[in-house]
């Protein structure tokens, strides 16, 4: 049983040497293992900032609050320690790392997170099987990390990593954006497999309700102006689908 708690988190985006802007203005959220929480909200509300700041992206700085994974403050850990502690971030814009082969990268990553090098033959079988489940051609393993991948290919590889690394807590940042319906199904199935095979807690950040038809949320939160503006069950997503984010954008603008 894992508990993931975000308490009073405020964060700035670092724009230049002396320039910064506060984006997160006090975020509180608790996610238990096995639960799926959808974070929805208008563009620019700070959803992605929340994801990146928790993962330790160098462009963001958390200025107040804490983020606890089973009571341990992950903000005191380095980026790689956070991942080894069981935190995973599927990025909206996965990074291309030229010259580093996907297979080499995945083996290094799995070795670091699991604490020991997997047996080569076993790992190769596991990798091939998971790639196949996500309709990723075997030849991708030899290519550079995300190098020249299409948007959809990058997202599939993010979910590939989710399945291989088996985190306690996964933040999926707009994994659905830019996907056609077929790709969305493949990716959603991957997320659902990860849920079925483990007790992973999921924070699913999305702008659209579309992915929620495939990945069922237990809770839905509306993010506006750097904080959670409203929380509810899956029915809140339906309401947003009908009404849009207008009332939250207005509320944010008035502050």
């Amino acid at each position: 049983m894992t508990k993931f708690e975000i308490r009073g988190v405020r964060a700035d985006v670092l724009i230049g040497a002396d320039e910064r802007q506060e984006i997160l203005k006090g975020v509180d959220l608790t996610i238990d293992s096995g639960q799926t929480h959808a974070i929805m909200g208008p563009n620019g509300s700070g959803k992605s900032t929340l994801a990146y700041a928790i993962a330790g992206h160098p462009k963001y700085e958390i200025t107040a609050g804490e983020v606890l994974l089973d009571g341990e403050n992950v903000l005191e850990m380095s980026v790689d320690e956070r991942a080894r502690a069981g935190l995973f971030l599927a990025m909206q814009y996965p990074v291309e790392v030229p010259g580093v082969s996907m297979s080499n990268f995945l083996r290094s990553s799995v070795t670091a997170v699991r604490g020991e090098a997997p047996k080569l033959r076993q790992f190769s079988k596991e990798l091939q099987g998971t790639m196949k489940d996500l309709s990723i051609e075997a030849s991708f393993a030899a290519r550079g990390v995300n190098e020249g991948f299409s948007g959809g290919e990058k997202k599939r590889h993010e979910i590939l990593q989710l399945e291989l690394l088996k985190p306690k807590m996964a933040i999926l940042d707009e994994t659905d954006s830019g996907l056609d319906v077929d790709a969305l199904k493949v990716v959603s199935e991957g997320i659902n497999r990860a849920k079925a095979n483990s007790d992973v807690g999921i924070m699913l950040i999305t702008h659209y309700t579309r992915i929620l038809n495939y990945v069922k949320p237990d809770f839905v939160h509306v993010f506006a102006d750097g904080r959670i503006a409203e929380s509810g069950g899956p029915e809140l997503a339906d309401r947003l689908e009908n009404e849009g984010y207008e009332r939250f954008v207005k509320a944010g603008a008035e502050q």
């Binding site: 956070r82 030229p98 580093v100």
Partner: protein, 389 residues
């Protein structure tokens, strides 16, 4: 781009004398070149003091250099004396050191002539191994001729200690394909000023990998010209410059005939106090030519403080009928976003750094067709990396 001959000088970040005019001042006569002072455009990045007299022509010649050739079937080799009419047909020295080396190589056992027979398709590489046996002045000359429609790979390997200058001629005859890997794997005190002069024939392909890892000061000037349309030249370079090393690469592609292609891609990493990398990339697209396709690129990775890079792309275009002409140069530190991505997957920082740096080099090393060399170069890169971890 279409239009009349405009003679547009599109870019020149360099000095007063246009590179296209340098050849006019070329000569085999050493005395035609004054002793450089360091203020000249072509010498201003080179610490002349560390050339140990190689540029002033003092008559010491106290070095001992051995040349060993291993040639597979289809490739022959011989030694030619100074004055052999086959030598010096592809170039006119444009600096004093090149002229000196051509005047004096005869004192050091003559020139090495390697010939790939007409139509021969040679899979095994030929090796020319130049080894400095003691630290002293020495000169050399190599001529590699790939006869028509042949295909071969030649590995030039420099090792040991010397204060060395040489001219290497590559003649790629019509329809031939020649790949050259020049590995400057000198000992830590060596000085090397090398010139590569290449003539690419009709529909011929020339590919070079200039890999500089060793020495105290290494200055390589690969030059390419074409003798007929359809020629293709790819110049790849890699240098890993450590504490106090000076690695300088000055490429010159002269698109003097129509319908020729060139790609220049040099990548360097610098690590440690006083590491100095220089890349000068000159491209001339000659008057009256058409259909030239050229691109040059230099990238530098500064791994520590205290390093210095000078990167100067230099394009002179004398025609409006160009298919492509571009250049790019970027120097900086390891991309923190690359590191963030790897670390966000649990990979510790030092390992993430190693992966990214290895990847940076692997992109280029991976294109070398000789597996044994690939592994050796990668291993040496790893060794240099380890020095700063």
């Amino acid at each position: 781009m279409a239009g009349p001959n405009l003679g547009v000088k599109e870019h020149s970040h360099g000095g007063e004398l246009p590179i296209s005019k340098l050849d006019v001042h070329g000569s085999f006569d050493v005395d035609a070149f004054p002793v450089p002072t360091g203020r000249e455009e072509e010498w201003r990045f080179t610490p002349l003091r560390r050339l140990r007299g190689l540029h002033d022509g003092r008559d010491i010649k106290d070095g001992v250099v051995s040349v060993e050739v291993t040639a597979p079937e289809g490739v022959t080799h011989e030694t030619a004396a100074s004055g052999d009419p086959r030598l010096g047909t592809t170039f006119l020295p444009t600096d004093r050191v090149s002229a000196l080396a051509f005047r004096d190589f005869g004192t050091f056992g003559g020139a090495t002539v390697v010939t790939v027979a007409k139509d021969a398709q040679v899979a095994e590489p030929a090796y020319i191994k130049v080894t400095g046996e003691n630290q002293g002045d020495a000169y050399g000359h190599i001529l590699v001729r790939a006869e028509a429609h042949s295909k071969a790979t030649v590995v030039l390997e420099y090792a040991g200690e010397a204060v060395y200058a040489d001219n290497v001629e590559f003649i790629v005859e019509d329809g031939a394909e020649l790949t050259v890997i020049s590995l400057q794997d000198w000992g830590r005190d060596a000085v090397h000023v090398g010139h590569h002069y290449t003539k690419v024939g009709r529909d011929a392909r020339f590919k070079s990998f200039v890999i500089t890892l060793g020495g105290d000061l290494v200055r390589m000037s690969p030059k390419v010209g074409y003798t007929a349309p359809g020629g293709d030249a790819e110049l790849h370079g890699l240098y890993f410059t450590g504490d106090g090393q000076h690695h300088e690469h000055r490429s010159l592609i002269d698109h003097n005939v129509s319908h020729t292609r060139s790609r220049v891609e040099y990548k360097g990493a610098l690590s440690g106090e006083g590491a100095h990398g220089v890349w000068i990339g000159d491209v001339i697209i000659g008057e009256g030519t058409e259909g030239t396709d050229s691109y040059e690129y230099n990238r530098n990775l500064a791994l520590t403080d205290g390093t210095r890079v000078d990167s100067v792309p230099n394009l002179e275009i004398f025609t409006g009928e160009v298919e492509g002409a571009g250049h790019a140069s970027a120097s900086g530190r390891l991309d923190e976003i690359h590191l963030f991505y790897l670390r966000s997957r649990g990979i510790p920082e030092d390992e993430a750094r190693r992966l990214v740096i290895r990847g940076y080099f692997a992109e280029l090393i991976g294109r070398i067709d000789v597996p044994e060399l690939r592994e050796r170069i990668m291993a040496e890169v790893e060794e240099k990396l380890a020095e700063h971890e």
